[in-house]
């Protein structure tokens, strides 16, 4: 206990000595102060006393959802999970290399503490940077959402564990690289590269998911369209043919055209199914790859899932005003296009993302982290210094 405490105090002193820690804290303060300056009412947005020409008002979003979304999208996604994380990595990438430097590590290793415990404590203590930053940021945000949005949301504090867990995925990689290379710069740059890679895999999967959902909806729509056309044709056949050669000719042409259209639809359906199969294989394999990797964006996304109800999201409550669905025509056939309801696609994608289990998102990421930290610990425990 004495030893654990001493190692955490040492980590804190390390942070305290870093300018970046205080810079990050000041930026956090400025961002929350900026949130507090933005106001929303029936007429729209304002900054302090000035009106903004942006058509967002409490008619679309309630004030508390507005502040929550601002906290999530700007505060968490952009600042904590991006800017502050880079600052945190820059500040903490040196922890292991500095600790392992010749002449520095010897004294600590010669103390009555097992190497494994020493390593894991050191690792945990490095989370202090992010933990403190997020703690301060979410406390301030909690006050702003409460005072300005009129809703006291303890769920804001969920950002502390979530951002710390998110950071720990990256830091595990940074630690392993630090132990292997013993170079701060190498550890930092390679970790950034890995992060970029994770981001790329995640974005690709997100795009594939959207394309897949579009394909699914096309298939669904075509199936419905074909069914109704077949019904209509069957009904037309049952109908008594009208007298007169002209009429017969007309209805014959008509039904010929309808049958031709039906045939086109059927080929379209076949194509769409084929496309869906291909895209599904791709999307599934990306999900498979993601299972083995830390899911950084999705871990951060959990916060929105828990803090904002689906029904409150802007995408879901503005559909009602004009009733028309924004339709984009798709498919190569100009004569017979396939309509695409983008809003429905967006909704389905969000539903699917939200349906992914926390166990998969966080659990498998933590397994990855445990593996990486385990490897780093193994190397650390066996090395001669």
């Amino acid at each position: 206990m004495t030893q654990t405490w001493a190692l955490f105090v040492e980590s804190y002193r390390h942070l305290n000595a870093k300018k970046l820690f205080w810079i990050a804290l000041v930026i956090s303060g400025l961002i929350v102060a900026a949130f507090a300056m933005v106001g929303i009412d029936e007429e729209g947005l304002s900054i302090l006393v000035w009106r903004l020409p942006i058509p967002v008002s409490t008619a679309i979003l309630s004030a508390d959802v507005f502040y929550k979304l601002m906290f999530l999208n700007l505060g968490v996604t952009f600042w904590l999970a991006w800017g502050a994380t880079i600052l945190a990595l820059v500040s903490t990438a040196g922890v292991m290399p500095e600790f392992l430097a010749g002449g520095a590590v010897d004294v600590t290793l010669a103390k009555p503490i097992s190497r494994l415990r020493l390593f894991l404590t050191k690792y945990a203590a490095a989370m202090l940077f992010v933990g403190l930053q997020v703690g301060v940021f979410s406390t301030a945000s909690f006050l702003v959402i409460g005072l300005r949005g009129g809703s006291w949301e303890p769920s804001v504090f969920l950002s502390v564990p979530i951002v710390v867990v998110f950071f720990s995925y990256l830091y595990s990689v940074c630690t392993l690289l630090g132990v292997v290379t013993r170079s701060t710069v190498a550890a930092l740059l390679l970790t950034m590269l890995v992060w970029l890679g994770l981001f790329a895999v995640n974005s690709t999967e997100a795009i594939l998911l959207m394309v897949r959902t579009q394909a699914e909806q096309s298939v669904q729509w075509l199936e419905g369209d074909i069914a109704s056309r077949e019904q209509a044709l069957a009904a037309a056949e049952d109908e008594e043919p009208k007298e007169g050669i002209l009429n017969t000719l007309k209805s014959g042409m008509n039904s010929n055209k309808k049958e031709a259209e039906l045939a086109t639809r059927k080929t379209q359906l076949e194509d769409a199914r084929k496309e869906l199969r291909t895209i599904s294989i791709w999307q599934n394999s990306f999900v498979g790859v993601k299972t083995a990797l830390p899911k950084t964006s999705e871990t951060i996304g959990l916060l929105e899932r828990w803090m904002v109800d689906m029904a409150d999201l802007p995408a879901f409550n503005d559909g009602g005003d004009d009733g028309s669905t924004r339709v984009r025509y798709d498919g190569g056939d100009r004569e017979l296009p396939i309509p695409q309801d983008n809003e429905a696609v967006e909704r389905a994608v969000i539903e699917k993302s939200r349906a992914r289990s926390v166990g998969w998102i966080v659990g498998t990421s933590l397994i990855f982290e445990a593996f990486v930290v385990g490897l780093a610990a193994w190397i650390f425990c066996r090395r001669d210094f």
């Binding site: 004495t2 002193r13 390390h14 010749g102 010897d106 004294v107 010669a110 103390k111 009555p112």
Partner: protein
């Protein structure tokens, strides 16, 4: 037989399967002694100390440290260690460094405060306790390192090249601290490639060369074979038979020394004063002018060079009989 502070048999270390740093080292260090581990750079001194402090994993070992098998972490609570070229976090003050490492050695909070005051005083750093290490000189860092090694009131202290990079005044102070540690009853294992400090404070020394202990014993033991009397006279020795026979009896040799070879030196390989008296009488009788008579033994420095040379010539052998010594107890830079 009381338990030894350190008892090692056949310690071997091969780094990365290639570099054989230790080739079967055996030694025993008794409680309360100041033991010098000497040898040139690369001899394996640091490796041996690092194995004892679990910083390096031995390839093969059987032995105990303070009664516990080497590698036992619990025993390290009673050990103090100052590594070679220690580096402490620059952002910590001297006082914080002491507190941190004492806490790591499981010293309670109250004891840490008390010990910090004591050790800071001992190393003369009290007024620097709240200054960051980043602003310390090399010598000050070394002192804080020494204080750090004493924070847990250790039974045994490992000091790896403690005077490395320290100025002469600092060296003398470190030597005094070593004597004080000995007087406090601590066992000290002192690693050094400089012999001067070992010579003045160590009871026994081991000389290591290329991963092996080539000599081990008290300074007296190690220098016994080289003890002799040197008699210096002005000018060439006068004619006369009396002293010549005595020189033959004593198995002594005569050399011309000095810038102009104007002095004679008689080296008599004996450490008994009585044995040279007849020779002195004979020389005086033949009117030789005796400038000096002194007992001489090889300095550690010479022993050391001999050992290294003999290792170079004979590989693993222990040898080197020629004592071409001039003056005993070369003081070095202290």
């Amino acid at each position: 037989m009381t338990a030894a502070a350190i008892d090692l048999t056949n310690v071997e270390k091969t780094y990365r399967g290639r570099i054989r740093a230790l080739r079967g080292v055996s030694m025993r260090v008794e409680k309360g002694e100041v033991f010098g581990l000497l040898g040139p750079n690369g001899a394996g001194k640091s490796t041996l100390v690092k194995i004892l402090t679990t910083v390096v994993r031995p390839t093969r070992i059987s032995g105990t440290l303070l009664g516990a098998p080497v590698g036992d972490k619990a025993a390290l609570a009673r050990v103090g260690y100052l590594p070679e070229n220690p580096r402490f976090p620059e952002y910590l003050t001297g006082g914080q460094v002491l507190d941190l490492f004492a806490a790591m050695a499981k010293v309670g909070r109250a004891d840490r405060k008390r010990r910090a005051a004591e050790t800071l005083d001992l190393v003369g750093m009290t007024s620097w306790a709240s200054t960051r290490i980043g602003r310390y000189s090399k010598g000050m860092r070394q002192r804080i390192g020494l204080a750090q090694a004493l924070m847990n009131d250790p039974e045994i202290v490992f000091l790896d090249e403690p005077t490395d990079g320290v100025d002469p005044v600092g060296r003398r102070e470190i030597r005094e601290m070593l004597i004080r540690m000995r007087d406090e009853g601590r066992t000290v294992l002192l690693n050094s490639h400089l012999l001067s400090e070992a010579e003045t404070v160590c009871g026994r020394v081991a000389i290591m060369v290329k991963g092996q202990v080539v000599r081990l014993g008290t300074l007296d033991d190690l220098t016994r074979h080289s003890r002799r009397y040197e008699i210096e006279a002005s000018g060439a020795l006068p004619a006369g038979d009396g002293w010549r026979t005595l020189i033959q009896q004593l198995n002594a040799e005569v050399r011309a020394v000095g810038e102009d070879r104007d002095r004679s030196l008689i080296v008599a390989p004996t450490d008994e004063a009585a044995a040279v008296q007849p020779l002195l009488d004979a020389l005086r009788a033949s009117r030789a002018t005796i400038r000096s008579v002194r007992p001489v033994r090889a300095s550690l420095e010479e022993l050391f060079i001999e050992s290294v040379q003999s290792m170079g010539e004979e590989g693993a052998g222990v040898g080197g009989q020629k004592g071409r010594a001039k003056h005993g107890g070369k003081g070095g830079a202290l």
